[in-house]
Symmetry: C2
Subunit: 535 residues, 2 copies
Amino acid sequence: MTQTNVQPSEFQRRAAELNDLLCVINVLTWDARTQMPGGGSSARAQQLATLSTLARERLLDPAFEAAADEMADDGEQTGQDSRAAQQALEAISAMQRVPETLTRELALLKSEAQDAWATAKLNNDFAAFEPALTRMVALTRQLAEALGYTAPESGGHPYDALLNTYEPGLTVKTLLPLFERLRAHHVPLLRAIQAQPAPRSDFLTRFYPADAQKTFSLAAAERFGYDTTRGRLDQSAHPFEISFTRADVRITTRFQEHFLPGALFGTLHETGHALYEQGVDPDLSRTVLTSDLLGLYAVGGASYGAHESQSRLWENRIGRSAAYWKLHYPELQSTFPDSLADVTLEEFLRAVNKVTPSLIRVEADELTYDLHIMLRVDLEMRLIAGELEVKDLPAAWNARIKEDLGLNVPDDALGVLQDIHWSSGMFGSFPTYTIGNVMASQFYRAAGEAVPDLEAQLERGEYAPLREWLTANIYTHGRTYTPHELLVRTTGEALNPQPYLDYLTGKYSALYSLEATKQFATLEQLATKEHKETV
Amino acid sequence: MTQTNVQPSEFQRRAAELNDLLCVINVLTWDARTQMPGGGSSARAQQLATLSTLARERLLDPAFEAAADEMADDGEQTGQDSRAAQQALEAISAMQRVPETLTRELALLKSEAQDAWATAKLNNDFAAFEPALTRMVALTRQLAEALGYTAPESGGHPYDALLNTYEPGLTVKTLLPLFERLRAHHVPLLRAIQAQPAPRSDFLTRFYPADAQKTFSLAAAERFGYDTTRGRLDQSAHPFEISFTRADVRITTRFQEHFLPGALFGTLHETGHALYEQGVDPDLSRTVLTSDLLGLYAVGGASYGAHESQSRLWENRIGRSAAYWKLHYPELQSTFPDSLADVTLEEFLRAVNKVTPSLIRVEADELTYDLHIMLRVDLEMRLIAGELEVKDLPAAWNARIKEDLGLNVPDDALGVLQDIHWSSGMFGSFPTYTIGNVMASQFYRAAGEAVPDLEAQLERGEYAPLREWLTANIYTHGRTYTPHELLVRTTGEALNPQPYLDYLTGKYSALYSLEATKQFATLEQLATKEHKETV
């Protein structure tokens, strides 16, 4: 797809223009979340709506479909051009299947439902959100029907249609057994951890000046290889990463002066996303292979899950590891002498890896996080399948929190109303967080097998070899491959939770002085049995 | 044009979409100049090019012309709708007259010429810029022919076509006599000032911490009425104001720690622009009447000159006045005690109003600024008329600087290469700076006649009555009226330099203890005679 000295084809020209529009949407979104004065929000919403409409028009322009057809049929084209044309045709076909009235209704409902949700959460009043959510579920079920899925009698599920928009190719048939295995592992591991004494973590809420946090966080991002000549770090209420081609990839974080881990690990998380975007092959800029055409979103990652695998890999596998802090804890201590002088490396490491069941997903540790996800996925699947009514959602939520985490939900604001996703119609996106965890461990294991001496390099703070391997095997490809193809190419196998389970078991066995790994495997097996009996 | 509860017409719908696109272009421009990492510039240029192409396509879409025609013919429409349709039809017609090849050639040349200019300026090597500038002049002459103008035998000039794109309706026939009068006034006034002892101004280059400058500047902007819930102040290499509807109007300034007036008056200047944009009638948002359709630029002001009148009014008439500093100098002193403790109010006032011929336009005082402008306009008119060749430009420049300002130009970087305008093809824009000065004084005089007790209010630091009068009489109308119409509606007369000349004479007579105004008028008359003899 190298276009140097070659006149771009009509397909490439139109795809470039479309990608430009999606990048522009991202610029406006970034500005709205980090810079825009409050008064500008309603004009900005109109500008974004106009751009989305234009992008949709350009995607559905018969001339674009014709150009993609021609490119797909062209025997001379490169593999990337062929992929790009194929993906464009799939997106066009999917969008054609969704009636314009439904798209418009969903867009209108989205802003209405988000308002209703915000009010309901503020007032702890689920009933105020129920009508909008009921309508959102109804429209999303229509969307699933319009997008299409394998018939239930052949093993399909309406949720497949939604899953596919975030994680191309993933189905309930693959997802559920995977989740079953994770849950069977996580719940007993959590019980075993809870039986041990909890590490202290009080010092994490001491005073950590925001300026110093920013300096340390930015240096940490750059240490991993985040290129600030093609990016910048800002503050926002909710941290995120966003790209306007690989040449401009921005991250945000939130500096809370009485909670150190937020910015510390939040920045590493967004850095993982950013390394992915900055590592995309330059030849893929302004092509379909850096465009999520169904989501009308410029992004270089293969899927939400693949993207999340990289944020989790850099945040958790590297950023929370003993090797990382052995090397960088002295610097952190000298950055915050007042708050960390009396805290040992081991205390710090145990604190930032502490497992505590909590009501709030975004505050959860690595282990309980997946339980939060699985709860949501179970409920939203039942909503989409018509097996659960919106009015029964709070009770179902609370029962599952009690069962998995042993906690009582005191009110809906701390329960079913905590996430914005459903009010935004993002049914099918929650699984990608956990899929990301699973993929991260698969990729990390493959990197370890491919890069000689990887652990020793990391212990010396040499992050370039890992980043370069990930770039060459994952990042550079953009959206050329589906996440499944990418896994198979890179790790030799499909989605497989074993490396992830091994990682968690090993990590927490060490941190919590649990019985040897082998014995814990037995515990896991026992637990699986126990779980099956109680469900 | 109130659209509440009324379905917008096809014309309004398309105009709103077009305005959205222009606002988005502005957001991208603001970001590029204030936030974007260096690596993003080439992708950003492509994104901007795509948006401009789209906006141009939407403007030239036959359906938009048909909708505008229908609106213009509709007897039922409001005055604003009629104006909007008329302006859209004029812009469409003008753009239709410009061949697409010329538009494309100009766009390509613009970036090439800017690069050549930057290199030439850096190396003080006019010859390196000459070929690109020669081509720019040739294409701009083609542009003038395509846009059209009154035939020379009927008093027209090709420069009229270019002037009209910045200052609708203004022609050489009006401009030249006006400039003649200004020059006849300014040169002798300058000589008279130069005959007096120069006030001290050394303290302006002492140390002024950037943070304190920003705090003081922002407070000063807010004092004039700049609404920061619909705006924000940032830093950029070249200060500017830009709007994305009246709801989001941003300004920038540059904080130089060893030059206080830069940020101090730069901020007040941009605040004047911003008050204009923030004061536009909300009903004009997302319409043709806040769109410069020929320039493909979202802006609420009637013209470049009208806009500049407001930046100059707030910066110079108010911000450099004795009344202003009498009130606010103590605060400035306490903000910068180390640098201003030994400086009296009168010394400060004389320093920030000091007249000194200088080589550089952007550093010029109020009086010599106009001379810089007139020099440029004279030269660019002759270039466009084919009366001056690009190769002869440096000599012509240097001769005129010597004549008007008495200075020798040591090199072209400090002379003909100092401005970016010509490399950007902005022929015809320079006059608007001086037109702005002239209009500012006309508007200010009208305000003084309409608002009882205006001077006393300003002496008390009450800026709201002036701002409200300007809003009601100028800002609210957006681009509804041409600058000429606006002047006649607001001041009862056409462009008239007398109030401006009276202001300058009065101001500098007081500051420099010149002979009484009456006697100076004689000096002016004498000078006019002398000037005529020497030209």
